[in-house]
Symmetry: C3
Subunit: 332 residues, 3 copies
């Protein structure tokens, strides 16, 4: 855990994050730490009650707590009905992203017809094609490749080695992690009578809203004809695959290794557990929650929590159960 | 959807694609579009009968249709028994890939012993090692890295940021999407008595046929001793993992996020749904079709359609079912 | 299969690998090959008895065998109780990795505050940020990007196009394959009352031990507060996703396409089959073995072999079985 960029007091934090302070407002806060490792200048948080017993032993000077748990901590308390959110906001206050100097690195190759805002930062060995537009405050990391007519909204940040294909548009304040590929061809092929595949040119693109986060090595395909669409506030973890013409609604959250096949529409605020698979051409209603490793082969028309995970068992038990399962067909 | 590179007439398209025309052969066609968004200069297609009702309302001037559905469209018809294939061919006619100018970008580093055909295009910051051979008409995108003795057949195209390791051979007219890694080490280690792993040098390579498509961030390992082999016409979607010494037969198609473990042989024309897992050392017969999210733990000796997807259910129902499933062992 | 870098005799191999020789110690060995393709100067091995019948027909001059099988081979035998391990060691002897010349390529951009040992090799277009430390004998492939204060222990090798984020530490003799991303942000967000996601700055890092292997396009997230930890001797295959604050114990082995969600602790010597999913906040005991495509949704407190793979069946059978499975709830 690094030292925070700034050193604040509990009182200053309470004021900036609109939290109620109970204790010494001058308590210094120079970092966030775990309950076990914190020292007097660290802030800790308890969002899950199972960690409350550790509050008695922590050496932290400041803790973010629900008011109901205030009595269990002897130090300075920052009180919130949503300690996890308060912790998130404090993390942004204490550990703001470093912003590299504005300007284009001498090794970056920017097409003459591209527009790069003078406040943007373009890293080494970046390649930007014709008619791309990079807005104010963008950060484009080393080795990124941006295709023709790509647009990045203000304050969008690409980590090192992101590829954005032709005509993809990202909104403002997006974050794209290393290795992501946005706008690669959708998987569209037509078989002929000899079962040879004929490629369908993928002429749609990808439209990505504001405040979208895209994880490392995640891939998002362009649309076959219409666009693939990721709405505002969506968060995608690492190694997710989004097929052509998928739509993902506002503030949906997909955990790592999930795949969404072509033309599936995911509603707003949907949460998808890691390693899930959504087949193609489905409709997933707003506010659906899929547990980890869900497999969705039909549309889900109403909000609710869904699961299909078959958990591991000792292999001998498992083999007997699979045998019994196969027998179900005969016994019914 | 971008404007097409060329503007044709329905008559010219019928002639070039050997389709039957029914209507005004001078109907202009300047793009392909969806039924909902098309205008008079667009062509649309109907391959799935469920979209037939939209034909009455589309403003498209031209439609690719099965002869049986011709009466349902008032405009110019291009008739085919396989409208989906005709659409694929039209997409290639109207939206040919742009071909960058031949030549080697000034920032590309090409070993003196490598051979690059003068008609090939090598992008910025490409690195090509000793004895590589890049044939006529190849396009190597920005930031690609080609190892020693790599060969690319004529008109093969690598998108930005592809890594091809030493001695890998690709045939003609292949397409490799961004982030793919071909020829990385197979996962071969031998444990000693202390359960420490000793690496087995992976001395095989990867041989890839003609007209193979490889998706974004897909990985294909080199063989342990013999080669990993991908036959002509195979299409691989994004984020697929192909283990060492896998063989994939002609015109097989694997959808995204599928993993194939070492030494499994997949027959010709096999189709694998997305997010499937094939364990190692299996034989999959020609023409097998695996539904999405299939898990294959034994060889499949005959053609047919297979599935193992257990679809999501509301979590309370699911938990009861898993409990019942566990009880099967006791009840039998 | 390439020619070996060196040409040895069976006697020299026996001496160097401490194997018992039975036969002509002058038998030349210039490569390792498969039983089917070997010639007189090749060594073969038999670790799995199912390949024993091929020993009669191989043209190999030398074979690595268990003493019990010696009689089945007419040529020179190298005897070991663990032929697979002996084969691994021979592969390293005959096919040592080529080591590029020491020094920094003229196109590499190394921050002035970074330290690169003069015996290390830094490839073209590499970018190394402030205060990074690259130890003796390291090899950093083309297009790698190393963040601030990254440390690489002696003789660690990064293949082309690896990204290592700020403050990540790798030990000695590690190998990282192309496309891997180490230290990307963990997936940490707190929802507010409107279900908008607020990012939690991920201030931990990743600590990786000695002799760790990390596969192509694998991603390892940095910790939220504390570090993500990969112990000595761990081997990770391609396209694995390791969430924030995961711990993986010594000599564990994870096969391809596996995902491990945040804060799960995996014990020493655990083996995870390909395409497995481990949910978050679990404890997996030392020496657990998970079969391919396992899904782990609860802690596993004791060593043993576990499975949850539901194998494919013909789709008609499968659909009936799923229907029966759903009925279990009613019949119980």
């Amino acid at each position: 855990m690094p030292a925070a960029a700034t050193r604040l007091t509990a009182g200053a934090i309470a004021a900036q994050l609109s939290l109620e302070l109970d204790g010494d407002s001058d308590t210094p806060v120079s970092g966030i730490n775990s309950l076990a490792d914190a020292n007097a200048e660290d802030a800790v948080f308890v969002a899950d009650p199972k960690y409350l017993p550790q509050l008695a032993d922590t050496r932290a000077g400041t803790a973010i707590l629900s008011p109901a748990h205030r009595a269990q901590f002897a130090g300075t308390a920052l009180l919130s009905d949503n300690p996890y959110l308060a912790y998130a906001r404090l993390s942004q206050l204490l550990y703001p992203l470093s912003t590299p100097a504005a300007g284009v690195h001498g090794t970056a190759l920017i097409d003459a017809s591209a527009h790069v805002d003078p406040t943007a930062s373009i890293g080494p060995y970046v390649v930007v094609a014709a008619n791309a537009r990079i807005a104010a405050g963008c950060v484009v990391g080393a080795h990124c490749v941006l295709g023709e007519s790509v647009t990045l909204g203000a304050h969008t940040r690409l980590h090192a080695r992101v590829v954005i294909h032709d005509r993809v548009a990202l909104g403002t304040q997006c974050t794209v992690h290393s290795g992501a590929v946005i706008g690669s061809d959708g998987f569209g092929f037509a078989p002929d009578a000899a079962k040879r595949w004929h490629k369908i040119q993928q002429i749609g693109s990808v439209r990505i809203g504001d405040r979208v986060e895209i994880g490392a090595n995640t891939t998002i395909d362009c649309g076959a004809i219409d666009d693939t669409v990721i709405a505002d506030g969506v968060i995608l973890d690492n190694q997710i695959q989004i097929g052509h013409n998928v739509h993902i609604g506002e503030n949906a959250a997909l955990a790592g290794c999930t795949g969404v096949a072509g033309s599936t529409h995911i509603g707003a605020r949907v949460q998808v557990g890691g390693h899930s698979a959504l087949l193609g051409h489905l409709q997933i209603a707003d506010d659906v929650i899929l547990m980890g490793h869900s497999v969705v082969s039909g549309s889900l028309r109403s909000a609710g929590v869904y699961a299909s995970v078959m958990p591991v068992m000792p292999v001998r038990v498992w083999r007997r159960l699979v045998a019994r399962f196969r027998q179900l067909d005969r016994r019914a």
